[in-house]
Symmetry: C3
Subunit: 249 residues, 3 copies
């Protein structure tokens, strides 16, 4: 029957649903909420076997989600329903992961990233701070499928990857770049560029993204700041950095 | 352990699997079937908090699916496995939702709609009657991602959205329009048009869709009527309305 | 509460998690591992109702997955988390199915196939040996959606279908063909061709796929053989067959 391993370390004021399963190799910080039919600390093979799953304070794991051993997440992690987060992930604070997302492991993720539903992050990816990934996006890693090569994607701070896009193996998205929906991005994309279409062409810079009503435009920190107060200095710095990149052009 | 809240209102002849969880704020009609590892009435925040989840008669919720409080579905709802249906949905009768679909909430859906697997319906969408949505389709809602704007998609009666397509924020698909696979639709699409490709171009009208063997052609009510008898008047009226739109051209 | 039907036939050394559910109509071979919150033998209607679900030796079904009655899989099946495998599937040995995949049933699958996460295999498809299908790929089957026609896809031995592609109804992918990411393939594709883009154009042959560092090139059996020993004769024969197809051109 569902259970909490006596070897798991559970913090203060943690809510664990009666149907959740907590394996041996798990450390849960204070104030976390582990919901029904979740599994924490699924054993894995390979290089991360036997390493703990570490959740820091105030994290929420919604129902039916599975987190393997061997990954570490910063505080205020929010995992939605029916996600799989495998081993070897090192993530900063306030990561938000949408329903049915699949984080394949062995990746590095910065602070305040938001992945929407049904995203897929291949092994070996590197993702900066304040990155937005929308539904059905896939970050790939095999440059010659099928091969034994694994060349992940790098996504720098403040990038936005829109719905249904595929980032091809080894692509490097420069700071604040924006991938349009249903596009393929490949190679090195300089900062603050818009990438669009099957061939991943650069079609402009992000200051073209302007809301007709408000006349506010990207970089998105100009008009979006629905984050906790703790994020505001980082958002402000990102906005300045992206504005400086646009100035250079 | 799994449970049925004593505050939930359960109709006659309802089957509830022993591992299903029914929260407080749930009303289930007669003859429903709630399968294993489901959760009904997940609490939510915001405007729909505390409102009930209402399922009408003869609905089936397959295993591992999650329905939040604050939504109302007409009779004969069929939710397949591992779906998430959030708060603020008002749906007509005979809605069918495929495996792994994600209905983000705050949307209106008509009668006799069929969503296939892995569909994603963003908040703020409006969907008419007899609409078909195929696997991996996403209806988006943020016109300047990330922004605080939410401009959903409108899909009128009888539309067909094929596999892997993305409907861009604020798009309005006129009655009986057809979006080809892996396409992006945007803006206002007049009735009975075919939309195809990355740029969402109108490539013709739906009477072009003709089956070589039978020589039957769209509008689809000409050749498809595998619905309950109760739907036949609505299908007939749709077929006539779409034929009239084609006549006008 | 979770249970194992007394009518199910369970082999030797099978691990069944305490939260798994095994219905009546299930035969499980030796050495299998059935993980938490899985359901085996879900009853179905139609032509496959009442037929058993047969799992052969050494199969692994990871958590939250659902396998219907009426399907037969060869030994060493590996189903990842939260999959749905419906009725009427006949699969060879060593099939691997990634997280959130949806096999809709009534299909034939050869030996040593690997489907990645979030794949969708429509009813009526035929898939050969050693086929690779990457995340978010959909094999469709309705040539005039919505219709009552069902014309599945045929995928011959050694094909590779990259991330996010849609294979249109009735397509026939010849031996060793390769579909690029986010492409649509349709019609008859001769062997060893590369298909790319929205219009599914043939853009070359697979010997163009060359890794810059190692200078190894497709056909993939030239450089990839991370399979069990039992597969090596089949891989060698495939490599020779594909090389012979390339010679002919």
């Amino acid at each position: 029957m569902p259970h909490i391993s006596s070897h798991a370390k559970i913090g203060q004021n943690v809510r664990i649903a009666p149907t959740a399963i907590i394996h041996d190799n798990v450390i849960v910080g204070d104030g976390c909420d582990i919901q029904d039919f979740c599994i924490l600390g699924t054993p894995t093979g390979g290089e991360n076997a036997g390493k703990p799953l570490i959740l820091h304070n105030n994290s929420i794991i919604r129902s039916h989600s599975i987190l393997y051993e061997g990954s570490t997440f910063g505080e205020n992690l929010h995992v939605a329903h029916s996600c799989v987060l495998r081993d070897g992930i090192t993530a900063g604070s306030h990561l938000s992961v949408g329903n049915f997302s699949d984080l394949e492991g062995n990746c590095v993720i910065g602070d305040y990233c938001r992945f929407h539903s049904q995203t897929h992050i291949g092994r070996g990816c590197k993702i900066g701070n304040l990155v937005w990934i929308y539904p059905n996006v896939v970050l790939t890693n095999d440059p010659l499928p099928p091969s034994t090569l694994e060349i992940g994607v790098t996504v720098e701070d403040g990038c936005v990857i829109c719905t249904g896009s595929v980032i091809l193996p080894g692509a490097h998205l420069g700071k604040g770049s924006f991938v349009a929906a249903l596009s393929r991005a490949k190679g090195a994309i300089p900062p603050v560029r818009i990438v669009a279409g099957f061939n991943g062409e650069i079609t402009g810079t992000i200051d073209k993204l302007r809301h007709r009503a408000s006349n506010k435009q990207h970089p998105w920190p100009n008009h979006f700041a629905r984050y906790p107060d703790s994020a505001q200095p980082m958002i402000k710095a990102l906005g300045e950095a992206l504005a400086a990149e646009l100035e250079k052009l």
